[in-house]
Symmetry: C2
Subunit: 354 residues, 2 copies
């Protein structure tokens, strides 16, 4: 194993949203400085030493950024391949490109998970109307049509309940390659925030139980209402994924709990919204765990010492801050985003349950 990144080194972070912001704070806590690369407004820059405002197609800016940092990580998986091609010859990127390639494309992701022997929703690639009618015949309805790439928070998705919904769903894909996913009847959705260190150690936080509304995560509650056996199975599954990818860093693994066992919904090669509860229930949270991994530190103690419910503050939820500020046990985390917009994640609150 190589030595940890020297104190005072600079961690480059692609993406300047709330995840980059909380990563930057964690990096500082371990004695590192950070440099944010972000094309748009960057709330992460409020807590970073340096910021580059440039597009992912600005190869000169990317190269200059890479030269100014000691290691590169990212807060989102949809980084264009050309940008990675510009960065990687200059500095190491963690998690690695294999993890990005797998998670950037729902077809590749599902094929990867299936190859590992893990269960996913039934799926089929859909490029045109003929693919779609074949996929519907094979998978059945209801089903969900999703773009293969660039989907997040329920965007790029269309539900097909009846055969006559098919053509409008396909139109919503805007000619982008898509995948039809069979509908999973699940009891609950959980996620495992898993970390793998540079030395190959794996550590998982306790699974949280997620509730979504309109395709956006609303709450994560730990512990999830699952037994010890299922908890262990969920962590084992996540560890398998990390090891297969030779992964370094934190990954979010979303799982459905079904009558037939665990089904993988999706994996995200980064810190994850459903892991925000770790900020107030663990000695080492998901952000520090990620920094530890990519900086070559040993993984930290992520054992849970409190029950927590995380609630996302979305759009006008922000108006409830004065009330939440008075609530005992409520830890508020705001993202410093200028504009309140419907459906926009503006903060979260972790409620510590004694």
């Amino acid at each position: 194993m190589t030595d940890p990144l020297a104190p005072g080194s600079v961690i480059g972070i692609l993406g300047g949203g709330q995840l980059g912001r909380m990563l930057s704070v964690a990096a500082a806590r371990l004695g590192y400085r950070t440099h944010i690369f972000e094309p748009g407004a960057a709330p992460a820059a409020h807590v970073a030493e340096m910021v580059t405002t440039a597009g992912y197609d600005d190869l000169d800016a990317l190269k200059a950024f890479a030269e100014q940092v000691d290691v590169i990580t990212y807060e989102f998986e949809n980084i264009p391949t050309e940008a990675l091609d510009a960065l990687e010859p200059v500095r190491a990127i963690h998690p690695n490109r294999r993890a990005l390639a797998v998670s950037q494309d729902r077809m590749i992701e599902k094929a990867f998970l299936s190859d590992l022997g893990l269960r996913t929703a039934p799926f089929a690639a859909v490029d045109d109307e003929m693919d779609l009618s074949e996929a519907i015949a094979a998978i059945g309805l209801p089903a969900i049509l999703k773009t293969r790439r660039f989907g997040y928070d329920g965007k790029g998705q269309a539900r097909i309940a009846e055969p006559e919904d098919a053509s409008s769903a396909l139109a919503e894909m805007n000619s982008a390659p898509a995948v039809l996913e069979g509908f999973i009847r699940f009891e609950r959705e959980i996620s495992v925030i898993a970390a793998r260190g540079a030395n190959g150690d794996v550590a998982c936080f306790d699974p949280g139980e997620n509730v979504h509304r309109d395709g956006i995560l609303r709450t994560t509650t730990v512990p999830a209402a699952i037994d010890a056996e299922l908890t262990a199975a969920a962590k084992d599954l996540a560890a398998q994924v990390l090891e297969k990818l030779n992964y370094v860093g934190v990954m979010g693994v979303e799982l459905f709990v079904t009558e037939e066992g665990l089904v993988v919904n999706e994996i995200a090669p980064r810190v994850h919204n459903s892991g925000h509860w770790t900020q107030n229930g663990c000695t080492v949270d998901q952000f520090e765990q990620h920094v530890r991994a990519i900086a070559g530190w040993p993984l930290g103690d992520g054992s849970r010492y409190a029950d927590v419910q995380m609630e996302n503050l979305i759009g006008e939820d922000l108006l409830r801050i004065p009330e939440i500020a008075r609530e005992p046990g409520a830890a508020i985390h705001l993202y410093g985003k200028g504009e309140v917009r419907a459906g926009r994640k503006l903060g979260h609150v972790n409620r510590v349950i004694q």
Copy 2:
């Protein structure tokens, strides 16, 4: 009560050391941006949006800084009066100047505390040899001669055990006005981190028990080994001080526990090293509590949900990081200071005790 500071407002922080750094992170968590004013190296700037590098005698820089921020606070009490005179006409400063005036001068501080009916060490002003011999006659030996102003971490102090130590002790003061303090026989030193909101509410964290070495705080442990009655008395005392000063913000109150009750050692009108444990034992830590107060928020829930021992990492203690990084329950906080120097505070570790 006025409205809270609007989201996205800028909090100006005088001083760019570790306290300013942790204040800056707390401010960001509540949706604020920060601007650090610091003459020297500023590790706080790693997690702040803006930084002004200028001296406290640069009145133009101070004025420009004040105009760019919405409220001013500070991480240390030794701000020159001239600097305050330049800042205050432009923006509000919290905590207020009365609190600064009292804590900047040990004589004024002791007189203030005595007027409140609180016990302090016996004390007498010492400007020259005659004062000193009179003070020794009145107070007795052993005693400690301290500069009235600008002392910290044991600096500007000389112990007088025998009468013949007097002249060398006085020489150490470098002609600065001084104060002789009688020696207090104490069972333990505790400190109360107390906060007062803009609405007059007062909240105190549980008292921590401090151990010093070479004049520098080494550890703070909560809970302190004191009974409920003494805990209540310590909190009441701190509340009295805050109310008398019409204080807004967090204050550190150091107390000796003696056979005759509580004796006030000193007060610091800012977040305090002995309050760092709150980062890992409370939903709202001392840094956020301070930001809440100066931004006009309600005070947060500072109740303790874990036992914690905070250990300062001083000088070569930093070499123990690889070992501490492997310790279960250890939360590491490094300050991003470039140079490892003996006696320099470089970080701390909070050990959560289950």
